[in-house]
């Protein structure tokens, strides 16, 4: 088993600078976007670009993670980025817009390479699996002109790739993380299908056949409506999500993210495995998303409560 003592010590030192629950509360309580910008700048979000102060921190995060572990270990973190870039590229090319601004760094494949391959329909430069997904996603979108079906296909391909990477690593923490990603993704899909009263054949295509749920039963429950879905979820380890399903989509999705964060917290007591590296990446990414959410809420003068119900729990 690989040991990451040096890397984890660096992670622990960095964790001390993560925003705490009190920091987030303070950020929520400031009365203007300028004050919020000053607050986050004091806490390391230094960027010349006021429209996206998190961009620099995101770059620094990837640079930091790359120094901590080998590519095989952090592959599980990079794969969702690849599939996001595929989704953005396929849709941008289909709509005939320049989609390069929608792409993000950090994937296993270069973002521009993915975009170019999708644009030119030449996938030789890409890894076989990514090439197959790009090609198939483009076919689905062109044939059906349904962005939702394309998203479903790419999301399922991403979950399968993450699950394979976790299995290949043989690391129990990564396997559990991959399972939780699949489970929360399936829950969110099932919830949306139940709320929008989709039929069983649509749900069967939408739900990913992986993770810890009995997916055949989950699909049937989703087809039965929100109450049936809640009854199905209640006795599972995601039971707490069921009560939030009844409140609103925003709090339910936040609860799904919080479930993963609670699992990530177990890495706080690890000193040698790769778990704290994965957990730090997840925690910092969640922090960046929270900062982005609050700043954009302040910019659009949204009510504090509306922003607060979407803010996920912090790692520290």
């Amino acid at each position: 088993m690989k040991e990451f003592t040096y890397s984890i010590a660096r992670v622990r030192a960095k964790e001390a600078a993560l925003l705490t629950k009190q920091d987030i509360e303070q950020l929520l309580s400031v009365d203007s976007r300028d004050a919020a910008l000053r607050f986050v700048r004091d806490r390391g979000y230094r960027s010349d670009d006021d429209s996206d102060v998190t961009a620099e921190v995101q770059k620094e995060l990837w640079a930091f993670i790359e120094e901590l572990a080998d590519e095989e270990t952090i592959r599980i973190l990079r794969l969702p980025v690849d599939y996001h870039n595929i989704k953005a590229s396929v849709k941008a090319v289909f709509s005939g817009i320049d989609g390069e601004d929608l792409l993000i760094d950090g994937g296993t494949a270069d973002k521009k390479e993915i975009y170019e391959c999708v644009k030119t329909r030449e996938y030789k430069e890409l890894d076989e699996r990514l090439a197959e997904v790009c090609e198939e996603a483009a076919v689905i979108l062109n044939q059906t002109q349904d962005g939702q079906l394309c998203d479903i296909y790419i999301d399922k391909a991403m979950l399968a790739a993450v699950e394979d990477a976790a299995d290949k690593s043989g690391d129990a923490f990564m396997k559990k993380y991959a399972d939780m990603l699949a489970d929360t993704s399936n829950l969110k899909t099932a919830y949306r299908c139940a709320v929008s009263e989709k039929n069983l054949s649509f749900i069967e295509n939408a739900v990913y056949d992986g993770g810890t749920f009995n997916t055949a039963e989950l699909k049937k429950a989703a087809a039965g409506g929100l109450n049936t879905l809640c009854e199905f979820v209640e006795p599972t380890e995601y039971g707490s999500c069921a009560e939030y399903m009844k409140i609103s989509a925003a709090v339910f999705e936040r609860q799904c993210a919080d479930e993963i964060m609670r699992f990530m917290e177990s890495a706080r007591y690890e000193s040698f495995s790769s778990a704290p590296i994965i957990a730090y990446h997840y925690a910092k990414t969640a922090e960046i998303n929270t900062v982005r959410l609050i700043l954009s809420g302040k910019l659009n003068k949204l009510a504090d409560d509306m922003i607060r119900e979407r803010v996920c729990m912090t790692y520290v």
Binding site: T5, Y6, S7, I8, A9, R10, V11, R12, A13, K14, E15, A16, S271, F272
Partner: protein
């Protein structure tokens, strides 16, 4: 065969210093990796993590001490070596084993505790003393083994076998 007593006693002394030394090297090495990680991010914590890194190093010193005492008792150190009975040689060998084995294992364990303590310092530098106590607890068992080895070696010297 007549030198087997001396061979066994010398093997005991060598193992005390080798095994306890290996344990300390592994423990200090692990703690050193963690210390380097913390200092990479925050160089001001150097002195704090250095103290933690040194903790697993004591077992190596205990092993060396036992090796010295044994070598001195059997006359190799000082140049007055005489033939040693097989029984006495074996007794010296056995006397060296507590610090050899406990030294090896406790230094590795202490190294792990020191790593955890160093990571605690990275997040909460004001809790350094607690981190030191956790790692120092492991030292108890190395000291007990050292004591047994010392008492046994001095006891053997008085035996007429």
């Amino acid at each position: 065969m007549e030198n087997m007593g001396m061979v066994l006693a010398l093997a005991g002394a060598a193992l005390a210093s080798i095994l306890a030394g290996i344990g300390s090297a592994v423990g200090v090495g692990k703690a050193g990796q963690a210390a380097a990680g913390v200092v990479t991010e925050d160089p001001s914590k150097f002195s704090k993590v250095l103290i933690m890194q040194l903790l697993p190093g004591t077992q190596g010193i205990y092993g060396l001490l036992i090796a010295f005492i044994t070598l001195s008792q059997i006359g190799i150190l000082g140049g007055s070596a005489e033939a040693l009975s097989l029984a006495k040689g074996f007794l010296y060998f056995a006397a060296c084993m507590p610090i050899a084995i406990v030294g090896l294992l406790s230094a590795i364990s202490q190294g792990k505790a020191a790593v955890a303590g160093i990571m605690m310092i990275a997040k909460k530098p004001d809790q350094m003393s607690k981190g030191m106590i956790f790692a120092a607890m492991v030292e108890t068992y190395a000291i007990l083994a050292l004591l047994v080895s010392i008492l046994a070696i001095f006891g053997i010297a008085g035996l007429n076998i």
